[in-house]
């Protein structure tokens, strides 16, 4: 401990911190360091534990697991290609819809279309969309969305059935309702990050565009959108990542069917909903296989999220000057 050399100085009040104060200082630093380290340990533990649990299945099924198409407990054969396909297909469809809507919403909210009151209404809409729990979307999907799109699916199947996308009709749960709900769920993520991206564009850029005599849309499409493009890309990638890991609504809506189909109206499955629907009743070997599937899901989402964060960092840096 540092000594106090100023004891002779005549002030009545000032005094050096007590040993208790120094101890508290040390203690606090130690505790906050440990708590920051918790997040590292947690991630390491998650990866380690999932890997350890999946290890027997990895040894037994190897790479065949990732390209196998049957999930049969009786025969003890497990393959997750349909789930990987379903995960990517549903997320991609959701991204096309929800991503587009999200970016449109961001343009709507940031490019002076609305007075403050109306824009607050839409901002609240986006925030509430984000706040509604996944399982409630699932319930809504079952009792509102599926009955709603079933007639349309029948018509599309009958008239345009030769297009693979409409190759079957919707008998109940399926890819279309799942993707639609997923789109609604990633819309707020995409909108929020895109709004930030537009906000980062310096005002002078917009001013310059208007100064050149562009219409509002020319300014948006030719100047604002390209300038904010990397941030919007990050929004889309992170929205995609969100869609990949989404579970409950999909488990309730996608039909949990182990098949690969291009049809929007066929039942399908995703990695997350496979876990949700099979885990509770799984036998010992199936649990190992599910752990392997969980590891695959972890790998895919981590990859996409890290990519998204990396794009975002690049996007943010663009406006922080030279650096």
């Amino acid at each position: 401990m540092a000594s106090n050399p100023f004891t002779e100085v005549v002030t009545k009040i000032s005094k050096a911190p007590s040993s208790g104060e120094y101890a508290a200082d040390k203690l606090l630093r130690g505790i906050v360091w440990a708590c920051a380290a918790v997040i590292l340990l947690l991630v390491a533990y998650i990866v380690f534990e999932l890997g350890r649990q999946a290890f027997p299945a990895i040894i037994r099924f190897g790479i065949d697991f990732l390209i196998g198409t049957t999930w049969d407990v009786q025969k003890q054969t497990f393959g997750i290609l349909p789930e990987i396909w379903g995960t990517l297909f549903s997320s991609l469809l959701a991204l096309l819809l929800g991503g587009g809507l999200g970016v449109a919403m961001a343009i709507f909210l940031t490019q002076d279309f609305l007075d403050d009151r109306v824009s607050n209404v839409f901002r609240t809409v986006v925030e509430m969309l984000a706040a509604i729990p996944s399982v409630v979307y699932g319930l809504w999907g079952i009792y509102v969305l599926i009955p709603l799109i079933r007639p349309a699916s029948q018509w599309l199947n009958e008239t345009l059935g030769w297009i693979p996308l409409f190759g079957t009709s919707l008998s109940g749960p399926g890819m279309a309702p799942a993707a639609l709900v997923l789109a609604v769920m990633i819309l707020p993520t995409v909108a929020a990050i895109s709004v930030d991206a537009f906000r980062r564009v310096p005002y002078k850029v917009k001013e310059a565009a208007y100064g050149m005599g562009t219409t509002r849309w020319e300014a948006i499409l030719k100047v604002m959108l390209p300038t904010a493009s990397s941030g919007i890309l990050a929004a889309l990638v992170l929205g995609f990542g969100r869609a990949l890991g989404e579970t409950m609504a999909l488990a309730m809506l996608i039909g949990n069917s182990n098949q690969i189909s291009l049809s929007l109206f066929a039942p399908a499955n995703t990695l997350a909903s496979l876990l949700a629907s099979s885990f509770p009743e799984a036998g010992p070997l199936e649990v190992k296989a599910l752990m392997y599937a969980a590891l695959a899901l972890l790998a895919i989402t981590l990859l996409v999220n890290i990519l998204g964060l990396w794009v975002m960092k690049a996007a943010t840096r663009k406006f922080e000057g030279k650096a």
Binding site: V32, W33, L129, A131, G138, N305
Partner: protein, 302 residues
């Protein structure tokens, strides 16, 4: 004189007067208008599902709201009546467990990231991992806790459910609290250092109290998110038809609103489906109340 001369040349140069009035059917203007209309359409389209969800919650869920429904045990397959009491309590208990773990750890970690060593290697890695974890599929939190806790405890439990919620809340708490701590002006901290505060005293007496409203906002958003989670509870807490009984009850399977909705949604009985809607209404109200509270507190700070 020179002014006159320049005006003369200008007059000669501009032979036709520019037409400044806009024409409704001119290409650019029309395109602009169409795009604006289309954007309005898209924004309205985005609001449509929300309106529909809210309508259904109020119409279907509101119909069964009563004290009995809110407190009674869930019905068995062919029973009539019944309620969602244990599920409400279970959700509250597990969110509380998750909060008790994630909030202190998260805020302390945020102090390290924002105040103690913002640019240290540990802080950079922790910040990055927290961001990565915000996109972590919630079901994997369930799988993880199942592997480390449920297997060793040999039972599904409220504790396991709460811990899986804590895993999901932690990154949100860390990132929002760090943001709130960073908003405290440097000159305020300088004043504290200038008075002779140790680092812990600056944090405890000035930075943390000043950042409290912002931290509360972030924490409430994390709590709101956790309340609506279901995937991580699926095979950590499982479900139960009874109230949690005492402290030992925390080590037993526990009901939650979200799992009740999931379970009942697929049943072929109207009674259960109606209860699923009521449970949804209660859950959404809980989540929205926390959201609104968070935003009100956040706004007061600013």
């Amino acid at each position: 004189m020179s002014e006159q001369a320049s005006q003369a040349t200008l007059g000669r140069a501009v032979l036709t007067e520019p037409r400044l009035r806009a024409s409704v059917f001119e290409g650019r203007g029309l395109k602009s208008r169409l795009l604006t209309g289309f954007t309005w359409f898209l924004a309205a389209l985005a609001a449509l599902p929300l309106i529909s969800v809210i309508y259904m919650l109020v119409a279907k869920g509101g119909a069964r709201i009563s004290w009995e429904t809110l407190t009674a045990l869930p019905p068995a397959a062919f029973e009539f009546g019944g309620g969602i009491g244990p599920a409400i309590v279970g959700t509250l208990v597990m969110v509380l467990i998750g909060s008790l773990i994630s909030i202190p750890v998260g805020i302390l970690a945020a102090i390290y990231l924002a105040e103690v060593a913002p640019s240290s290697r540990l802080a950079q890695v922790a910040r990055f991992l927290a961001k990565v974890l915000t996109g972590f599929p919630s079901i994997l939190a369930g799988v993880f806790v199942y592997a480390v806790l449920v297997i060793s405890m040999r039972s599904y439990s409220a504790i396991a459910g709460g811990i899986s919620l804590a895993v999901l809340m932690l990154p949100t708490v860390i990132l929002t609290a760090e943001e709130a701590l960073k908003q405290v002006p440097q000159r305020m901290k300088d004043a504290a250092y200038g008075m002779g505060c140790t680092r812990a005293q600056v944090i405890g007496k000035v930075t943390l109290p000043t950042a409290t409203p912002g931290i509360i906002t972030g924490v409430l958003l994390a709590v709101a998110g956790a309340s609506g989670e279901s995937a991580p509870l699926l095979f950590t807490a499982l479900f139960s038809s009874y109230y949690i009984s005492g402290l030992e009850g925390l080590a037993e399977p526990t009901a939650s609103l979200s799992i009740l909705i999931y379970n009942f949604s697929g049943m072929p009985y109207d009674n259960q489906i109606e209860l699923a809607w009521t449970a949804s209404l209660v859950l959404v109200l809980m989540v929205l109340a926390l959201n609104i509270l968070a935003r009100v507190l956040g706004r007061r700070k600013a």
